[in-house]
Amino acid sequence: MTIQDTIKGTIRAASGIAGASDGARAEPTLTLRPARKIRRLPVQKDWPLWALIATQIGILVIIIALWQVAADRGWIDGFFWSKPSAIWQTLITFFTDGDAFTDIGFTFRSTIIGFLIGTSVGSMLGLSFWWSRNYAAIAQPFVICFESLPKLALAPLVILVFGMGLASKVAIATALTLVVSTLTAYAGVKAVDPDQERLFYSLGASRLQVFRKLIVPFCLPWIISVLRVNIGLALTGAIVGEFIASQHGLGRQILYAGQTYDIALVWVAVLVLSTLAVVMYVTVSWIESALRKGVRQ
């Protein structure tokens, strides 16, 4: 092979004509193209808000009506499943004759107190890890251990230690929320840009100044972001505490009704509990967005 041949070969390869036999040049032709699929861009049309809400209400009405009819006609066992009309009757007696508000207030209080203690103590604990890497390293396995522990399994112990009253429910709600806040606040601490810290130190800042003017404001959005999760966890903790041993509360009401086969009352208590949960969730979401605006990040 001469040098010229080598050069020609290189040129041919470089011009991208592959598989061409000597002499005959393969022209790229249109016939070699596979048939192209051409479609319209799929577009989803949004319904107006009223239509969405109407559909939602409609589905709810159908479920309730089916339930009622099924129980009346004997398709399902009305004793185990109860039925909407009976639940409605029980709901009215629950609020007129029973001590509904004592129970609601009890559950509400233990949830809120547990939520506040767990969130604030947990956040402070998480932030405190900034102060010393050694302290954080030592504490880390304990925190992770406490996180992976099924805390509800400790509930019977908590009841024995704190008694049947409000304190034990608060303790369980606190235990559930505390770790979440600790870990989130600590994640915030770890996300602080080291250059940002260097800037503060170059300005001659003390450790306390860095903590107050950088670490805390930086971590606030992280701390705020768990409020909604925590209110749900706190409610779960309070209800479980009431399940195990209590004299008041919606959790106790559910357990009691179940044990006495008063299924309608179970449904009523669950309904009231869900309403309470939704109200607290919405309130906390509102507080969260208000705080977020205040923090501006």
Binding site: D193, D195, Q196, R198, L199, F200, Y201, S202, L203, G204, A205, Q209, K213, L214, P217, V295, R296, Q297
Partner: protein, 263 residues
């Protein structure tokens, strides 16, 4: 008339212990900078520019040598020099005004007094109308201005600028250079400036120090005896081009020796 020496580095060196032995980040560096001068450091990445800055700012204890500011040993003490990093590091939860007064606030100046002092400067130096906005509403150039004013308002005689315009587009960069020179002549600070951009270094400085890697060191100090104020066209004069060629020659030499070593 020669000004007194403001900042002096005496055999400042930095070594790190690694599993594979001792790594010499900075060979003993000696440098004297007179008051009110604008001095640049240029060099390839890894030549220890940032290490040197951290040592001057007191954020890093050198392995050997001393940092002397105003004839006082300042090694390992913070809060003596203004230090601006490449990132603007503005706090997103503070307004531009409150970001700019951060240094004074940390030094214990009452908030209101600090704001009163900063406000006219913000207005004079191109941030009028932005004082009460949050940094997220500002362009890159504006953020960099705010960061530089924060460094200035800290009110130290020496300020260290670590590639302050590195992330800006060419157009904004030119504007910012003029703006920086304006500030420098108004405030009479002693400036140490790190950049990758040879032309920027020469255009701004009284003296350009070329650095090399392995170990990080200053290979040559090149004075820039071009009269100020310098028009933009100065970059086309033979004098300027000669200095630029010398710098590039040193940088390439440093780079080549580096390659030889690797080969």
């Amino acid at each position: 008339m020669l000004q007194p020496v403001k900042l002096r580095l005496e055999d400042v060196s930095m070594t790190f212990k690694t599993p594979r032995g001792v790594f010499e980040a900075l060979a003993p560096v000696t440098l004297a900078i007179r008051q009110g001068r604008f001095v640049s450091l240029i060099g390839p990445s890894g030549c220890g520019k940032s290490t040197l800055f951290n040592v001057i700012a007191g954020l890093l204890e050198p392995s050997g040598g001393r940092v002397v500011i105003d004839s006082v040993d300042a090694t390992g003490t913070i809060g003596r020099v203004g230090y601006m990093l490449q990132k603007d590091l503005l706090l997103p939860w503070r307004t531009v005004l409150d970001n700019v007064i951060l240094g004074m606030e940390i030094q214990g100046v009452p908030l209101q007094a600090a704001r009163d002092r900063a406000l006219p400067l913000l207005r004079r130096y191109g941030l009028a109308g932005f004082e009460h906005l949050y940094p997220s509403a500002l362009s890159g150039g504006m953020r960099q201005r705010a960061a530089l004013l924060r460094t200035l308002m800290f009110d130290t005689d020496v300020i260290l600028l670590d590639e302050p315009f590195g992330a800006l587009d060419a157009q904004t960069k030119l504007q910012m250079q003029e703006w920086l020179l304006q500030l420098w002549s108004d405030f009479g600070k002693t400036v140490v400036f790190v950049t990758h951009d040879v032309e920027e270094a020469i255009y701004l400085s009284d003296e350009v120090n070329v650095m090399a890697t392995r170990p990080g060191r200053i290979v040559e100090s090149i004075p820039v005896p071009i009269a100020r104020p310098r028009p933009r066209s100065v970059t086309l004069t033979p004098e300027f081009i000669a200095i630029k060629e010398r710098c590039l020659q040193l940088l390439t030499a440093a780079h080549d020796s580096h390659v030889d070593e690797a080969a």
